[in-house]
Amino acid sequence: MPPFLRWIIALALLGAGVFWVVTIPGDVSENEVAGLEGDPERGEPLFWAAGCANCHAAPGAEGEARLVLAGGQKFPSGFGTFLAPNISPDPEHGIGAWSLREVARAMTKGVGRNGAHLYPAFPYNSYDMAQVQDVADIYAYVMTLPADATPSQPHEVGFPFNIRRSLGGWKLLFQREGWMVAGDLSEQQQRGRYLVEALGHCGECHTPRNALGGWQSAKWLGGAASPDGKGRIPNITPGALDWSEADIAYYLETGFTPDFDSAGGEMAVVVQSTAKLPPEDRAAIAAYLKAVPAVN
């Protein structure tokens, strides 16, 4: 074998080895969840803050039916169509048999029960900043909801995005590091930041993404093309959103804009959840949005 060929093979092996190591799915340690007891009552408002039902309720579900987290909604994107899975307490088709550690690992690290990477259509890059106690409380609340035996549907994603391992590379490139808005924030703004950046995962739709689907962090909440290709998701930084804090909070409660037009599209679904938040949480979200750097 010529020496240069040996070198090429060695380099290729090294490359494969590096790829393998850097794409190993992340984990939540047993220590991080040890002794945590979920409180379903505390979990209820957190569940609405995290917007779980917005995606995991069955397609077209309204009212009480939104509490049946049977999955099945479709989310088309440039990478393929993602189908929300069943996360109801059903032990076979839902997440009823999961341990808290597995739930925390899925929500904050984007790793499924089988150890494979999850697609970032699931907003783990936001939930990554969620407190483990809150995850435990949300899970405890979800377990009080009706079980449903609808099997989860596979995602409709083609090559190369169907190689789960490559998502490790995505995470390496795009996983967030800390808060998007740092600096001096009031207690209320910090609460708002937690609700917007972590649980509410507002940035998942309102922040533009690059060609590989990573956030363009400098344009945090600066508006983006809709992933399904229809219309635009608005800029909600002070560079475009000139509503008062009271107006923002009122919109999140009732869906009415200051001109008394109503929320539409996905945002009308989101408002069905934010309407169930305690009023001080909606006010905190509004206070935080005023503190976000303006994107013009």
């Binding site: 077209g60 309204e62 809709s226 229809k230 219309g231 635009r232 009271a246 107006d247 009122y250 409660e253 009732t254 869906g255 009415f256 001109d259 008394f260 037009d261 109503s262 929320a263 539409g264 599209g265 996905e266 009308a268 679904v269 408002v271 069905q272 309407a275």
Partner: protein, 156 residues
């Protein structure tokens, strides 16, 4: 004979053309009526909403009148004559009414009925007092969103 045939076909073409032109004008007229009704709703909602938000002093008579006007507008919008085929985003530029409406007409009508119901509930709440009125705004907003969520195209 030939002459007659060509005359007939000319006539037919003219007739069809006029028909198409009529349909297009009619579609735009229908769309304009719908938009005018939506604006009426917005006006009434503005009165109710500003009172609910404390930007306008609550007054039972004014609030109830606004709720009644809203209900009237919601009933007008519920008229099937305002929603003929060929008045969706694929057919005319001016509208945001998605073609899905015509694939799910029963659901669309149910959502329209929900708005009428929410307006009737608002009429009662608005007469009762500021707090009940504030509480009824959420349900009203939800019924607006019910349609706008699935049947209104996003702004360009």
């Amino acid at each position: 004979m030939l002459k007659n045939a060509s005359r007939a076909s000319l006539f037919a073409i003219a007739f069809l053309g006029a028909g198409a032109a009529f349909a297009a004008t009619h579609a735009v007229e229908v769309q304009e009526s719908r938009e005018a009704i939506m604006k009426e709703m917005g006006k009434s909602l503005g009165v109710l909403g500003k009172m609910a938000k404390g930007q306008l002093d609550y007054d039972a008579a004014t609030a109830t009148a606004a709720a009644t006007a809203l209900k009237d507008a919601a009933e007008k919008a519920h008229d099937p004559a305002l929603w003929p085929e060929g008045t969706d985003t694929m057919s005319i530029d001016e509208t945001r009414a998605m073609p899905d409406i015509w694939d799910n007409m029963a659901d669309f009508e149910a959502k329209g009925a929900a708005l009428i119901e929410a307006s009737i509930a608002m009429e009662a709440a608005a007469a009762e007092g500021l707090q009940p009125m504030q509480a009824a705004m959420g349900n009203l907003g939800g019924s607006c969103g019910g349609c706008h969520k699935v049947y209104r195209a996003p702004e360009e």
